[in-house]
Every structure is written in C-alpha cells, then in structure tokens.
Symmetry: C2
Amino acid sequence: MSILNQINQPSDLKKLNIDEMKILAGEIRDAVLKRDSMIGGHVGPNLGIVEATIALHYVFDSPRDKIVWDVSHQIYPHKILTERKEGFLTPDGMNKISGYSNQDESVHDFFKVGHTSTSVSLACGLAKARDLKKEKHNVIAVIGDGSLSGGEAMEGLNNAAVLNSNIIIIINDNEMSIAENHGGLYKGLGLLRDTNGKAECNMFKALGFDYHYVEKGNDVKSMIDVLSKIKDTEKPTIVHIHTQKGKGYQPAETDKEKWHWNMPFEIENGKSKYSFDGENINDMTYQYFMDKIKKDNTIVLVNAGTPGVFGLTPDRREKLGEHFVDVGIAEEHAVAFSSALAKGGAKPVYLVMSSFIQRTYDQLSQDLALNQNPAVILVAWGGISGADMTHLCTFDISMVSNIPNLVYLAPTTAEEYMAMLDWAVEQNTYPVVIRQPKSVEHATKAPNKDYGTLNVYQVEKQGKDVAIIAEGSFFALGKEVCKAFEPHNIKPTLINPRYLSGVDENCLNSLKANHKVVITLEDGELDGGFGEKIARFYGADDMKVLNFGALKEFTDRANLQALYERYHLTPKQIVEDTLKLIK
Amino acid sequence: MSILNQINQPSDLKKLNIDEMKILAGEIRDAVLKRDSMIGGHVGPNLGIVEATIALHYVFDSPRDKIVWDVSHQIYPHKILTERKEGFLTPDGMNKISGYSNQDESVHDFFKVGHTSTSVSLACGLAKARDLKKEKHNVIAVIGDGSLSGGEAMEGLNNAAVLNSNIIIIINDNEMSIAENHGGLYKGLGLLRDTNGKAECNMFKALGFDYHYVEKGNDVKSMIDVLSKIKDTEKPTIVHIHTQKGKGYQPAETDKEKWHWNMPFEIENGKSKYSFDGENINDMTYQYFMDKIKKDNTIVLVNAGTPGVFGLTPDRREKLGEHFVDVGIAEEHAVAFSSALAKGGAKPVYLVMSSFIQRTYDQLSQDLALNQNPAVILVAWGGISGADMTHLCTFDISMVSNIPNLVYLAPTTAEEYMAMLDWAVEQNTYPVVIRQPKSVEHATKAPNKDYGTLNVYQVEKQGKDVAIIAEGSFFALGKEVCKAFEPHNIKPTLINPRYLSGVDENCLNSLKANHKVVITLEDGELDGGFGEKIARFYGADDMKVLNFGALKEFTDRANLQALYERYHLTPKQIVEDTLKLIK
C-alpha cells in the first residue's frame, strides 16, 4: 500500500500524477474488499466509484467544497481518502467507522445518510445557505445506483435546476440499481449513454441543467478533465458519468446484484464465510405465492428496489413473471400502485422492509387507508436491532398502527403468518399490513384462518394476577417471561394480541377480574406504539400496566443483548419490575 | 341551462355537436361559479378544465374507461357530467357532494383524493390490474395545477413510462400551481409550449412516452381530435394540454392565485361575502420575520406550494425576497432542504399545513431528526376540524411526536407562540416543530423565553384531586373544564405541557401527592398521541388517567360541535367522566 500510505487528507492527493492515482485506485479497491470481506458491506457500488472519488477530491477542496453522498452505498473510497482508511485496513479500525456518511466521523461528511434519494435536496440546502451568507464554494451531490427514481430525488432535481447558482450533481450511472434498474428514467439515461451524451432528448437539459457526459467514468483523467472544467460553475450542472459497478473484482463484475451488498466472504473466490441453511420465511413466502399464482392470475407482488430482502433472486423474479413488479426505489408509488391494483380487482402484495415503509406515510394514509382498498403489505425485519442508525426497524408499529383503517397484524409463528397472509390476500374489506416473523417458529396448534373480526386477541394460556400481552416477534419472549415467573409462584396469563392496530376491549375487560398487572412486550418503539394503547385503555381502572419496548431514540450498531438490558427486556428484569408492583 | 338539462350521464354527451358542447361549456362554468360563490371551493382550476372534461367524456366511455383525477382541484366539471350536477345547482344538492373525487358518490370516480401527485401511480395500478385480468379499456390520469412536481407523481411517471400498455396521462398545463409554478419541470413545459410541443428536448419523450401537445386546451374540438387519435393506444402516452386557469370568469382570469380556491363570493364582482378583520397569526408571523431579516441575513422561509395558508401573498413574498423559497409541491424536498440549510448555517423555517406534513415522514426522521439540524417547522391548522376527509389535520401529533430527536411545541397563546418561535429560530441544538395556534389568544403574563430545557411542563394553576393537562389549542378548553368543576367543589390543577414530544417526569411525579385523576386534553388523534404517553407514565401507579381527544378515524365534513360531543370533549362531559372515577 505504498501510495495510500501517503494519503491522509484529500489535499495529499493533489501531489500525485495520473499514473500514481491509477495505482492508488487499485489500493483503494483492495482496502474496500478487505473491509467487505471481513465485516460485510457494500461491494459493487464502492468498487465502481473509485476513480470518480479520486478525481472529485483531486479537483475540489473538501471540506470547503462540500460533497454530499447519496444513500452512502458508494462512500467507502471517500472515507478512505478522508482520514478514515484505518476503517478499511485493520480489524480494530473497521468497527470504529460506519458504512455510511456521518458528520460525527469526519468534517468531510455533512449528513448521516442511509436512505436513498436525499442528496440533491440536501445539496440544495447547503448551496442556498452558502448564497445567503455570500460565500463561494462548490456544492456537489453524488447520486446513482438507482436512487434517482425516488420521489425526493426528483423533487430535488426540479428545485436544483432553478437554484441559479453553483450546484453540481454527479449522476453515477452504472446501469444498475440494487438490482436492475426500472423505469423510464433509465431508458433516458440509456439513450444518453448510447449517444455519448449527445442525444437532443435529454431530460436534464429539459429541466434546465447544464449537462456533461463522461463515458469513461472509471478513468481518472477523463473525470479530472470534466470536473476541472465545471469547477466553480455558477449554474446548476449535471455530470452524468458511466461507470462499471463492481469494477476490478471479478465476482462483483459478473453478478452485480449479488455483490451490491455482501456478508463476509473469501476474497480469492468470493465464497461467503457463512452459510444459511434450513427453513426461512422468504422461501415459505415465495412458495406460497408460486402456488397461488397457478390458481389466481390476479396476484401481483410489488417491490421497490429491494427484492433481495425478500429472497426474490433473479431466477425467482423470472418465475413470478408478470406477477412481480419492481417499481424501482419508489416506495410512494409502490403503495399507491398497490392500492389501485386492489381497486382494479387484482390482489397486490407490497413487500417492504420496516425501515423503508416510513418513506410512504402519506400514501399509506391517503391512497390506501382512506380508500380502504384491500391491498396487502408485508413488512420485513420489523423490531429492535443492532442495525446502523440509518436502517433501524423500530418505528413501523408506531407509524402504521395509528393510521385509521389499516389493520396491522403480528404473527407469532410461521403457521400463523401463512394463515394471516392467505386471509389478507383473499379478503376484500381491509388494507392489511403484516409484520413478517424474523425467524421460523413453528406453531403447536393450528392457527385461526379468519382474521376478519378485528382486534380479537388470543389467550394462549389462562393464568392469574399477571397478564402478558406479547406481540409478534416478542411472543417467544412472553413465553420465557411466563417461565421466569414460575419460581415466584405466579402463573401468568399469556396473550397473543395478533392485531397491533387496535385493542380487544372484551379481552382486556375480562382480565380485570383476577389480574393486577398487564405487561406488554413490544418489539419496537414504546412511544406511539402498541403498549400505550393498552395503558390508555386501563387509565380509568385499578389495573397496573407495564409497557416494555424500545425507547424513542436512534440507536447505532448497538449490541442487541445490551440494548435489551437497557430496555429492561430480559425475562429476569421484566419479572423484577413486575414483582415490585404486586409485592 | 338548456343543454345541461339533457345531460345526466357522460353518454348523453355523445349526442351533442361541437356547437352544443361549446354552449354546454358555458353552462358548466355557470354551475361551477354557482357552487363556489355559495359555499366556496376551487374556482380557477375547474374553470380551466371544462372543455377538456367534455372532450374526455365525449371520446371515452366512463366508467368502463377509467379517469383518475389528481388532487381533485379540477374535478367539478367531471362531477357535473357524471350524475352530480345537483351539487352545483341547488343549495340542498351542494352539501350532498364533496369537492373531491369520491367513489362512494359515483361509479365514475375511483378514489378518494385530496392530496396532490397521486393520479399517475393510481392509474398505473388500475392499468396493471386490467392487464392481469386480460381486460381492454383506457386508463387516464388527469394531472396538472402544480401536482407534477410532487415526488409521487415523478415516481409514477417513471413507472408509467415502462408499463408497456395503455395508460394516458393528461397534463393540464395552466402555467400555474396553486400559486405560480416553481422548478425546472415548468421550464421544460414552457419550452414545449413555446414550440407547440415540437422541441426535441422533451422530458416525457426522454422517459419513453408517446407525446402529444394541444395548444388549444380550451377548445373542445382540438381536444376531441387528439383524444380520439390516442384512444385505445397500447403505449404509455402523454397529452400535454395548454389551458387557461380561471377561463371565462374575469376576476379568476386576472388574479389566478387568489382564485385558485375561494370562500363564498358575489358572482357579479368577485367580492367575498365574508371579511376577516383583526389580529391573526399569519400577520404576526410575517411581521416577525420581516423584522428578523433586517437583522439576520440567514433567515429563510421555505414553503411547498401553499403560501396562501400562511397569508404569504405575492406582495409579501416579494418583500421577503431571497428569504422566501417556494419549492413547489414537494414536501419531501422542503424538509431535506431545510435540514441542510440549517447545517449550512442558515436559519430555515419550513411552513406546512398539518395535513401535508404527513407527506414527509421519512425526511423528518432521516434527513432532519437523525441529523439533529436546528431547522424549524411551523405546522398550521393542526387539530380536530370539520374538514373534508382528505384534508384532516388530526394526525400530526401522533406522527411527529414519536420521531426521536424532534421537539414538538404547542403554544397556548399568541405571545407564547412568538416566544417559542424566536427561541426555535435562534437556538442551535434541536430540530423544532411548532404547532401554530389557530386563533389569537393573548397571554395574561409574559411567556418563558427559553425552551432549551426540554419537557418542562408549566403549572398554570395549582389545585388538587384533579389535574388537567391541556395542550396548545385545547388549553382554552382546559380553562373551561376547570370552571365546570367549580360547582362540584373541585379546584383542579391546570397544566400547559408546552412539549408534545415528551413527558415531564418531575411534574407528573409531583402530582401523585394530592391528585387522583390526570386528564389530558388533546386537539388530535388519541392513538399514538400525547395523552397515551401520560397514560404509559402512570401505568405502574395508582393515578387514574383519562385521555380526551379524537378517535382514530377519517371524519368527513363533520359538524365540529357534534364531533366534540361524540369525543366527550365538552366541559360537561369531561367533568361527568371524571366524577365517575373520584365519586
């Protein structure tokens, strides 16, 4: 690592010549692969943007010139060049930095970013602030990798175009989103690529941007030439660069989708260091739909650019055929589209990760819930986790369950999940959201098939004094808590509420007879969540209520066990807290 | 009304010749003006779309062919032609129909729509459902009036372009949004208008659409000619039509912004039937900022296409100059932009109506709260209302207050509002959301100036047995409830919580000493709201808690007093409910 050794600041780059920068590019790729292979992370996007990043830091003067990285899929080379190369070279260093943009790590980052399509709007804000303060510097957004199709990016472009001032938007066109690209936008980019940027029909020029095309986006010199030309421009400017996702690492060049993000792997052959066998929810879900579409031509799975979260590999997508629609990164469209599919007599199921369902609150409320169309939404990964602060899945219950008319279901077992899914798909009355189980727990008895009578909780075990209402992925915790009460001669009632979006007044009233405390266990934020509805219900009664769940906070790559302890979510703590109340 | 008399169904139109349709257009305009002048409503958008609507129903066969109206600003002529003309002709009929698209009113409407930018996505869903079911008919979205700049519309266009099937998008270009248009998109439309649709640089063609331009969008024959040509097309098709907002009514032609939506007026001269004098929050807010910008060049007001909600008339906007940015209908951009303005050292204040803040949950969470930038957001009209179901302002507390890091303030008087606003603008620590008062109540003592110590509730009156925590616009109700307790020899403690986003543990703990019941009064939805936080806090205590507020439901043009009664929000009901608990 001879050249990278000399680079500690972006300014160090300016001493290098082109040939040295080419060598540096190789060293940066090695560093990216080292981190990814050891702790996992984004591979392809980072390998593709190496030369562009070198050129950006060679031409501009960060942090005076401000570079805003969209979604952070391609921020590793920037991190390596901005005082954080240890995060790629040593095991200790790797855990010190995150895989995402973070202003707390470096003055060269300006925002914490992990959701897509935000960079143009953020850059507009920095640019306008600069203009109000009569300062002079460049503001640069780097966007690509499918982020362009998100509504916020389009709103941003529409406004950036009329900023009447310096703003430079690098569109990194690697012909891919996380999976393949979807939408007319990418047709437009294709035409520009095919004509070396010369096509008259240019959406960016139509918006009013100055437009530059760089065919060789993986050539440092080509990048430097164009960026030098537009540096200090006083006009909103687009630099459309054509790069290769996964560049320089054969497995990532070959299978771009698989190598977008990877778990730890062997660098020599790309083989994963871990293997996952056995049953999983994604296989069950896929198999359910494959069976279903044989009998029902109106089934359609909708996804917004993250098929991998649901195990929908390219071959599975091909088998689903017209019954699968990837709308690209466009969650708002996905919900409205699904609502209208249901209105039109189809049976849509929108598959979305918990962290991303929050990108579409208004569509859930207006396009879907207000219209009461029977579309189905499957939410993956909902719950407290050790994720990066930008990808938490803690907030979906609080967000979804307080929107009128939405039915939010939380299955506790694989069988219950399948039963709820089938009921949701076949019914015609409600928009239904289902929080997918995170692992496969098998039921000991057959689940209900009909969930049409809303908000009926299931008493799984009748006890007294203490009632535990344990939702979805925390039902297993509920069972553990029951056991932990045994030494104290307490046999609690255990309840599977099934519905996160309403209270079962009959059930809760019946508990008053011989229970003193109701405990709620919630795999999500307490504020605005399920447990608070129970607390409100009992407000006028003598019943004590203890709500357990996550605090209202953004955690960051937390140790899950430590987090549970901080939240008093271990069986021991829950029993202790309860015993204090019933003495 | 000789011709309109004969029209009950769209099919009746097909018997008319062009000259008769021109006469009909005049009669429809009269009907639109009759309704608007008597009960208020959208004026300019409806007057501009008359001929296009006649042509649509002449050429297509609704409801077999499905027309989806964006935002419903321009749906009146459609309603008049689809069995609902009584809603425009007689006082009784007027209250029977809403001003918005509503499938419960007519088979010719497919969705309840009142927020913008949804029509293309919804049309995509109907089209895909049609294709799965192997049916044949046209699906048409009508969008315009500024809706195109909303992210959902752009996501929809991106997907519509690759639908590979029949979808027709009418872009009604009247050169206006609610106020003037903003953004590069509208530059692009301008170039197309200037070249009679012939410019090579065409963003719609770049996306892959077939494109048609109609310069004379207010000429029935021109519209019929083009629509007849593209009927039953098998390709995604854009029809860009140029119309005149306010067409046919002199005041509305002249002052397009004022006449976008109007209160009841005299048809002869356009004079409003009502006048509003005296102090109002908008004037105070405007004056505050005008004073502020004289001293501070970094202040910037941000709005997303609804300056009228905040009384920001064209002359006021002009006076604000570079300190005002209307980003067009693009709430997501507005929040990200504001966050970045704060990061860049400016002092941004984003002005948004409660019903529309829900269009930007993810940006509030990721772009703003996660980054803890000290941007300020003013929320107008928050609270229970008699609004149309598409424009409720009941949900903002539940949505905003459960996002970590956001400080949500609820002033109870004009003076407290101004103090909170000034604190929020000048501080550097928190993203702050302020729920604007709906009317001017004056404080009897000077409000605090510093709100930097979070979640400190203000005890306004010390009493015992009963404590009333009355937030923001319901503080006045809290005072009334206090009075209503007097005959029962109860002197309640009255608390102004000021912070909607957290609990004051000290204050709540201190109440335990000599209070039996805590009442929360909340001008918004109970589920996920402020009161539930209080109920959760007291879950383990003997304190009884009664939460008063709105149920989780979409109400529709409700009688406000009746709604309060149904929610037990009258002082008498609140006292009765409380007395049941303390006997």
